[in-house]
């Protein structure tokens, strides 16, 4: 829809987007939201043996403004739901979410009065990781999958669309 015309040159745009996607996929700073047992496995993934940092996923930052990937590892109870939602809301774009473990994906075995059955109706989930808990390798695999997903993104085109939308809107 003529976005290339705005930015000038499809080739350049694609290259720039590739570069941006490369940067984003190589530095997914996690926001470790480990609430339960899966959090321990997430810790193991961050720690020496599996070392998520190899993929640039270092510097776990608890401030939602600074993180890219929300790793929701563990049970989300109904009491926790608003908190999770708030944290997600406060994250800066672009942001991605992992639902790690059965509890986060669907509530798992805890089909009870106080457990929220799956976080995907609170926040959009990018990668589901089944397992209880998933092995650290499972998490790393999800990270690789996320990288693939990021590589297919079109940040600049989206940006232009947004800008156009905003100018049309106002």
């Amino acid at each position: 829809m003529g976005i290339e015309a705005y930015v000038g040159g499809g080739w350049l745009l694609t290259k720039a987007e590739q570069l941006i996607n490369w940067g984003r996929s190589r530095s997914p700073w996690p926001l470790p939201y480990g609430t339960a047992c899966c959090g321990i496995e997430m810790m193991c993934a961050l720690a020496a043996s599996y070392d998520m940092a190899r993929f640039g996923a270092e510097r776990p930052s608890f401030s939602p403004r600074q993180a890219d990937v929300l790793i929701e590892a563990g049970t989300i109870t109904k009491k926790m739901v608003p908190v999770l939602r708030t944290i997600y809301d406060q994250m800066a774009e672009p942001k991605w979410v992992f639902a790690m473990g059965a509890c986060a994906c669907s509530g798992g075995v805890f089909r009870t009065y106080s457990t929220h059955q799956g976080i995907d109706d609170i926040i959009p989930v990018d990668v589901y990781i089944p397992g209880c808990p998933p092995r650290p390798e499972g998490l790393l695999y999800a990270l690789l999958k996320l990288m693939d997903k990021i590589k297919g993104d079109h940040p600049l085109r989206k940006k232009v669309v947004e800008a156009l939308g905003a100018s049309h809107g106002s």
Partner: protein, 346 residues
Amino acid sequence: MEGWGIIIIKIVFIWTWTLLIATLMTWIERRGAGLIQDRLGPNRAGPFGIFQPLADGIKLFTKEDIVPEKAHKILFALGPILFALPAFSAYAVVPFGDKIVLGGKEIILQVADVSVGFLYIVAIGSMSVYGIVLGGWGSNNKYSILGGLRSTAQLISYEVPWGLALLAAVLLYGTFSLRDMAFAQQGVFLGFLPNWGIFKQPLGFILFMVAAYAEANRVPFDLPEAESEIVAGYHTEYGSMRLGLYLFGEYVNIYTLSALIVTLYFGAWNLPYVDMSKFLGPVAYGLASFLVFFLKVAFFLWLFVWVRWTVPRFRYDQVMGLGWKSLIPLALINLFITALFVQFTA
């Protein structure tokens, strides 16, 4: 005096160099941390993960910029700028080598050799407080404010022993020019030691070192961003490049401080017992001096990383107690001793 062209080239060079070192520092720190901790650290982006900082940079550049609704817009925007500006410009008076003769022109390897260059560092150092305190306050978040206040109090507290250690150095060298100080460290001391500041002022060096760690907000003095208590300290609410400036400024600060340590206490570009200028050509000498200086700095850069992953951090009151009750009296003693020393050698 050098022409404008050369000066501009020097500025651009030093700027790029600082930037490069600071970016590299982030990589070194993460790889170093990895290796210290029996893991690998980022190694996927480029060979050995050397492009990791680049990826981080791109990520930060293309991240959404959020200004919290409760934040004070002006202060929030000014915070990172006020933090990064002093950090980035402090290097202006620190030398990075002796001199190089190119095309018959003598070029001093220092951006500006001013008579009060040394005090410029002090002044600039005292300005970096604002970035933190205003950023923290501007965010209007409890953790930020607490982090900002803590950090500021810590910075100003350690500026005193820092300044006193510097004062002792000034007493010793009798000049404000960092370049002259470097020259004063040629030759030997007591017949066998290199004539370096550290041998004349071991206490001063330790004080300076400790204060430098505190000034750079590094472990064990990293309370302002002590993750476990106040989330991310004064930059809790900052994301995107604003955060980038804070993180980056910290590394630039570390670089400047390391260079300062080398200049003041480790003989700048002088090698012990050897006078390079005697047997090296003017160009080679210039490069060699730059190299020697940088290698020394690199050691201290590494030390910053190394210490960080070895020690736990202090508690806030302990930081203040250490600063006021131990370091400042020690710094005064150091001053006193130096005065005596100079009195007898003068």
